[in-house]
Symmetry: D2
Subunit: 371 residues, 4 copies
């Protein structure tokens, strides 16, 4: 029976895989057990963020060497989800997610253990990005990933991560040369459309949304349509969607468990405290160091509210032409999450279109349930 392992590894720079080398060499994880790597890398998280492809190239090179395949093949076996942007105090790190088959364990009573499944869509054409073609392909991949994870009830899914592509000048030109239109000519804006379509696809697969609510016209326009468990992140380095589903499943083994809440805005400390409470981690104020150690990972989405306000007070994220709005939002949510947990190596990702309510977003926490 399977066990889902999660390792948190600090990095000294985006191409620093020395921690993963050490982890594999120590025998704690085998290269062929790794199903996904989440990376927080220190670029701008926007169009020209080269920290993401740099990390991907380094991880692919390492894993290819260990698995005896080409770097390119790694991309078909392991979901590498790099999220750029460690604004504020966020600390660059990798989260290595592995699936181990073991016969030691016994089926958990109750809510089950952490389970993981991955799946990929086919590559998108530029004109499909940010439109229903991307929504539907994503929904299909999420269902496939749930099957891999052995999760049948969508309610047992607590987090669905998608890495998705964006438009750049060349891709736009390519589509237009073929007589196609693209969703936007603004390359930065295209990241939002791609994230938004992917999130709606997750919501569709998890039963939070129905197909008749969705159309090209609602994507990034009707913010009241959202998934409370979606996290999507756009990167220049890929043209397909990569899906990782995390949930609890009774058929899985091990000490890890996941819980989630929806943050209603960027300063919703109580949502984080709620998810912590579900995992037996309660504290007045910040977690004690011993509690913080039990938190294996926090995954959250950050987004500026469209109306320019947080609880009625003006923020300047959307009117700042020096720092992109998603960078401000990650810094804010990173500060709020670090206040709760007492640690900064948290996976806070920007751009939460259709991922939670406008200005808010999902937060999931994976904890080791052993006291």
């Amino acid at each position: 029976m399977p066990e889902c392992l999660v390792f948190r590894i600090p990095t000294r720079h985006p191409a620093d895989v020395s921690g993963l080398v050490e982890l594999i060499d120590s025998g704690k994880v085998k290269a062929d057990e790794i199903v996904a790597v989440f990376g927080k890398t220190e670029g701008n998280g926007c169009v020209n963020d080269f920290s993401r492809p740099l990390a991907v190239m380094a991880l692919e090179t390492l894993l290819a060497a260990r698995l005896g395949c080409t770097p390119h093949e790694i991309g078909t076996r392991v979901a590498l989800v790099m999220s750029g942007g460690t604004e504020g105090g966020l600390s660059p790190h990798f989260l290595v997610v592995a699936r181990r088959e073991t016969d030691e364990g016994s089926v958990h009573k109750g809510p089950g253990s952490l389970a993981v499944g991955t799946a990929f869509t086919a590559p998108f054409r530029p004109e499909e990005i940010g439109r229903m073609a991307q929504v539907r392909a994503t929904a299909s991949a999420v269902r496939q990933a749930m099957e891999v994870a052995g999760i049948t009830d969508p309610a047992d899914v607590h987090f669905a991560q998608v890495k998705c592509p964006l438009l750049i000048s060349e891709r736009i030109a390519d589509a237009e040369a073929r007589g196609q239109t693209v969703v936007t000519h603004d390359t930065y804006a295209s990241m939002g459309f791609s994230r938004g379509a992917s999130a709606l696809g997750i919501g569709l697969a998890l039963g939070e949304l129905t197909e008749d609510q969705l159309s090209d016209a609602v994507i990034c326009r009707q913010s009241e349509l959202f998934s409370g468990r979606a996290s999507t992140s756009a990167g220049i380095e890929l043209m397909r969607n990569e899906v990782i589903v995390l949930g609890n499943a009774p058929s899985w083994h091990g000490p890890l468990r996941i819980a989630h809440r929806v943050m209603r805005d960027g300063i919703d400390l109580d949502a984080i405290r709620g998810a912590l409470g579900d995992l037996g981690l309660s504290a007045a104020g910040q977690l004690a160091p011993s509690q913080a150690e039990r938190v294996v990972a926090l995954l959250a989405k950050a987004e500026p509210s469209g109306n320019g306000l947080i609880r009625g007070r003006r923020h300047i994220m959307n009117d700042d032409s020096d720092i992109n709005a998603t960078r401000h939002a990650r810094a804010l949510v990173g500060g709020v999450a670090a206040a709760a947990i007492g640690r900064t190596d948290l996976f806070v990702s920007g751009g939460a279109e259709h991922q939670g309510p406008d200005g808010g977003g999902p937060v999931a926490i994976i904890a080791d349930m052993r006291a």
Copy 2:
């Protein structure tokens, strides 16, 4: 007997004084009662932050019209402390501090009420900035401000704000034309030296430091020398130091009181909770809305740690050439403070050289003690 009033006014842009106009017109404060205005404005908080002089010009124009003097004279009567930078979710606003003479009140028993005093140094020459000349002149101005506030015991001072100048290319050239050296040729770095020297001057006046510990050589170099109640902020628009001292004094009247703590790092939620607790504001997690309303102002300093770490985890503030380190730090501390208070109109100011320990800084909270 005096009462110190504090009004928090949102702004729609740096020159937006409409809220202050309304406040004066409503009769809640008289123009000649205003002794200081703290402003969080939405520039970059660095060398070329024009949101600060814009706010100053707008405030001077308004107050001059109301007081029947020239805008220039306002500068000699009212301390206008503009701090640029509302990164993350911070909300631009003014804090208007007024002193009212009243005979209604009676002397408080116990710790006294909020008291304020202001003072100014003479203008500095460029070569004095960031050096002992600035330290000593600041200490002298702090003592003068305490006298104005009727505070005799330095322990009753909970916050000392200084607005100080910086070097720009022309000021450096001016000094060098006169055969003088300046502390640095890096204009951005000069902001740190000016803030650092000013903070040491506060520490000297408050008895936290002694003169024999101080010299040009320690400024911005020996971070273990600091004041736990200093907040200093550099701006291009002035050449002198402007000092505002806030404390509790038994000779003052009114419902407001101030408390402070030293944050040991940027995520020290418990320091904020400690200061809140001193003011009778305790909560598991975020303050309830009714409690948050009692918080009139939070004033905090933010700074990246010099060793590149927060509790052993790497931050990238010092290695980011796109966003200045102080901008990251303000965003982080703003997030932590908003997590505690549940509101974003907080006066978090960047650059905490010699203001609290390396990577940390003071936090002061003013609350209305009426339940």
Copy 3:
């Protein structure tokens, strides 16, 4: 008979009006002769550029004091066109344009002397920005300004500058609260729509475009529709369009003359050399210092090409999320113009939607014709 005077004044910061004070005090220009001030200020030239309102406030305060009116009234008498962004080597400065009535002169034979006229539209509602309402109101104001300048033949107009508003979160919310839509929710993008609509209005007035070519749908979409003499610049500080028309008119007196060319791309040195040649300023390579002194002003527009290429080679302006595309474009054109002229105090303004061909823009030069 009128003479148009143009003075170029360096500034030490956006609020530095000391040069203008000196100019007026010297008697070289009278305050009531000033019809317009063009300012290159050192902000980001984007949404949150506070260097522009700061310069406007300083200029209004000065001119109001000299003319014995309120600062607000200055806005109705003098066109203050602040263009933010001095990237690369561009040098911040003001161009003061004055109209003097004199009887000394005699009508020029030939092409006439520099002539100026200004006009203003009524304030726009947020929903009108970037749409035909703005196009038509601008065209009408250009015709009015030509009348003021005594120019009857549109071919005698060599430069038409418009300062126009932009959308910010609050203005969008205002429109939507009244049930209206706005042209875009992206505040930065709104600057382009406003500039584009204004440029089309100029083209309409100058006969370069016809009304049946124009509609809401073509604005910022059909780049082949453009004016070769339009320069439009968006700022947060106004809600109407301010128009300044510059041309040569036989009924005007004085040594100044203006010429223009359309730069076909950002490195079109020969367009600049063409305009210089029209004014008798030819050189192999850079102008000699004595020639450069005769150049009173260079006014140019800069824009990234939409296809991401300059003469077939990729530029990265549109894919850079750290520095806005218009900032790159201003730096480039500023370098090309400085190469030609040998000086950096040039009025290069960003965002050339419908102002010249895609990736190019108009360049106008005012020279003193006395050898």
Copy 4:
């Protein structure tokens, strides 16, 4: 007898080696003939520029596959000099420099053909960066590279490129843990010290400077000490200096030749025109397209002047806290060079400490001498 080949290859992103693949596959160059690759990549050119290591990793992977060695070994055989920053209109590209042994040719009469030599220093310790240890090691490597190039007279060297390391928080901590001091704690400033020390090393080797003029104290402080042929560029991805010397040598064969000039400031168009003239490329204004095609490469250095002026007019490069000064300088010089050449794929590199006079820098041009 040897021939030096130079190929200019556009890139679509920093890791795009498809053009080099095509070049090798076409047989125009053999992988083992390549001695150096200069890359202009589209990062910020500052501390956290990940476009450089990304390009290096992609080039090493490709060349290792072609040469049958490890990527790491490529670093010891080929000098990969990535210079980040394509501000303004600069176009990302690689310059592939190869050495071919051929017996077809005959010794040139006259000034000889383009010759190249490379050499590497040993890795530096952090405390050596920006100090005399780096100066001396660089001088020694330059002499070694000249020997490889068969150049005996230093006057025949027209360009010496050095890629050098920088300090980051961790390297500083490493030095200090060993009781050593570093030249600066400001990681961005460390790039300047490393470039400056490397440039002085080049000047020492080329006889432009003597050892008794040099000491730790003059580095980045006495700007009148400089090399007129040095180009140095700092990157996070290496700890040694990599040297490439380019000159003309009678013992080399082929149609390429190199010339250089020193730009006295950032707008010194005539310096570029001088170097072009040396290579038989004269034009009034911009080069004609047929002439531009003969320009194989332009390599220049850009730097803001320390006094904040260009020919007496203020620039804002040093006072801009949003965009680093070197980014402004590259954009400016790129514009001036593109004005001359009529093309934007130019290797303009930032940070010219001790490389030409303050605010200026060397410019070298490689041309095909066949009409």
